[in-house]
Amino acid sequence: MKLVLFEQAGRAPTYGVLDGDGVRPLDGLLEATEPQRQLEELIDSFVRLRPQLDSLAQTSSAIPLADVRFLPPVPRPGKILCTTARYAADPAAPRADLLMTLKSAESVIGEGGTVRLPAVDARWEFVPQAGLGIVARGPAKSVTADGWQTAVFGYTCVIDVMARGDQQFGRDFWLAKADTLNPLGPCIVTADEVEDPTRLRVRSWQNDTLAQEFSVSDTNDGLPEQVAFATTVLTLYSGDVLACGTAASGQRPLADADQVSVEIDGIGRLTVDIQRTEDPGA
């Protein structure tokens, strides 16, 4: 099942099921009012709600895609954890320990959104890192690699925009936390619909030129290891996002008016615009 958060003229942001006919809104199904809380309720009550969600195709009419605008399907995650997992790396390259860094909900934008790059001096550049995002089901703590899927509600596409340059003092990780620097979407595909998530293929484009292409199987730190590692350190809660790293190569500096897309087989394609701003950076 594909879940989207969408907006339509005259309608507050609403979750819906995406299918071949369009979007079928989940009207009246959720008690929470704020979208992120609605998602968390949807995750925590999914088994109970499932029959009603499945019957939407019969009981409701679909809104055509032309009439809706997608919003980020995880609009204000409690945490975004970006792992340092690397795919398709040169086997001769030294192996780095798996780690992760935090981003906040301020970084989130969705399909068709604009990444606003802060103005920074010439020592700095920003690069898009395409990857798979796990939408967590929690609370999940000390999950074993074997049981990793117990912590997974679904999957989405993520662009973890990273800052590069003067790495002294770790300023790169701070700049990468700026507002709008973590696009995700266009939808959440529930875990049951992804046959083998450990083999998903991720591709990204920068202005129609293929930038990154990799399988999430092509790594020393697979999805099971990443979930186990994350939950060794902390608790994942429903609606948190684990961005599962990116390919070692193919990251090119972003320029004003660029367009970046990431596509994951079976999930969808997320496209955002890049805008250089005069907003002072850190």
């Binding site: 704020e34 809380r37 204000r76 409690g78 945490k79 340092t84 780690l99 992760m100 860094t101 935090l102 981003k103 906040s104 909900a105 301020e106 802060p118 703590k141 000390s142 790495q167 002294q168 003092f169 770790g170 300023r171 790169d172 990780f173 701070w174 700049l175 936390k177 700026a178 507002d179 060794t232 350190v233 902390l234 608790t235 809660y237 907003d279 002072p280 950076g281 850190a282």
Partner: protein, 320 residues
């Protein structure tokens, strides 16, 4: 005004209150409702001016319960983000100012007064240490706040322990990512929020911290390398600050030390309040008790012992 969250033996409900000399006054009837305790505090921050008078009246007329009858909770149980300064104290050394930088700490790691800090069942970090910090409670949304307008983004202040897993020496485990600071329960916050009007200058506060009664941190916020107005300007250049978010100002590392099973950690910021927690370690690891004196310690005695050639660069503590 000192605002707090509390619960008692009769109910798990977390309620807002006002801390007074006599104890805690239940402010549930005056503070607007919220979806969660955090949400309620955020609403209180946003609407504070409209409830200030009834709260002040309540503080003088309402029944106060002694603190030993209730359990104080973290005054912000789940901020949307906790931004922490890296280093940021001069530590009495003569050198150039280091560039200001921050990281995000796991906001789900918040615990409060009387809670337990659980060391992880994970042995890659070689030691776990305490840091004692002044924490700024923010009022938002605030973006690109000029230094001169810093007070507009500040609601109040509280105290924070930045519990940290170390990689080598006193370097935080997870080089560059600061992940060693994001284990569950590594973010003690409290005991209350002191509203900004009660703190004339956040760079004129005295921070003390004890481990099992042994004084470890003991410094003034006057020693900050980048002061509070600059921190607000810096953070809001990168991120939109929200009501109930927290900026932690960093620590003076001269008093760093290990934390281990069974210890009682206590922080006091004069003018804000005092909070104590205990430590539990399922692996019962032990380290030498006392201030960390390793090769990279900035404690003055350690510097004289480990790096005598640098000792002349130390000011006398308290002389500047």
């Amino acid at each position: 005004m000192k605002l707090a969250l509390f619960s008692d033996a009769t109910s798990a409900e977390v309620r807002p209150g006002i801390l007074t000399e006599q104890g805690i006054v239940d402010a549930s009837a005056v503070v607007p409702p919220g979806p969660t305790a955090q949400g309620r505090m955020e609403t209180l921050i946003d609407e504070f001016e409209s409830v200030r008078e009834p709260l002040e009246r309540l503080a003088t007329t309402g029944p106060a319960r002694p603190l030993d009858e209730v359990r104080l909770r973290a005054p912000l149980p789940r901020p949307s983000k906790v931004m922490c300064c890296i280093a940021n104290y001069w530590e009495h050394a003569q050198r150039e100012a280091r560039p200001l930088n921050m990281f995000l700490k796991n906001p789900d790691a918040v615990v409060g007064p009387g809670d337990t800090i659980e060391l992880p069942n994970f042995t890659v970090p070689w030691m776990f240490m305490h840091e004692a910090e002044l924490a700024i409670v923010l009022k938002g949304p605030a973006r690109a706040v000029p230094e001169a307008d810093w007070r507009r983004a500040v609601f109040g202040y509280t105290a924070m322990m930045d519990i940290t897993g170390r990689g080598e020496g006193r370097s935080t485990w997870g080089r560059g990512t600061w992940l060693g600071k994001s284990f569950d329960t590594f973010l003690p916050l409290g005991p209350c929020i002191v509203t900004a009007d009660e703190i004339a200058d956040p760079n004129d506060l005295w921070v003390q911290f004890w481990n099992d009664g042994q004084l470890r941190h003991n410094y003034h916020t006057d020693d900050m390398e980048h002061r509070v107005p600059e921190l607000i300007a810096f953070a809001s250049r990168t991120l939109t600050l929200r009501s109930g978010d927290v900026i932690c100002c960093g620590t003076n590392h001269e008093g760093l030390g290990p934390v281990q099973d069974g210890e009682r950690l206590e922080i006091l910021i004069h003018g804000i309040g005092r909070m104590a927690l205990t430590v539990r370690d399922p692996l019962q690891r032990t380290w030498e008790r006392g201030i960390y004196m390793g090769q990279d310690s900035v404690n003055h005695e350690a510097v004289r012992r480990n790096k005598p050639q640098e000792a002349h660069l130390l000011h006398q503590a308290g002389s500047d």
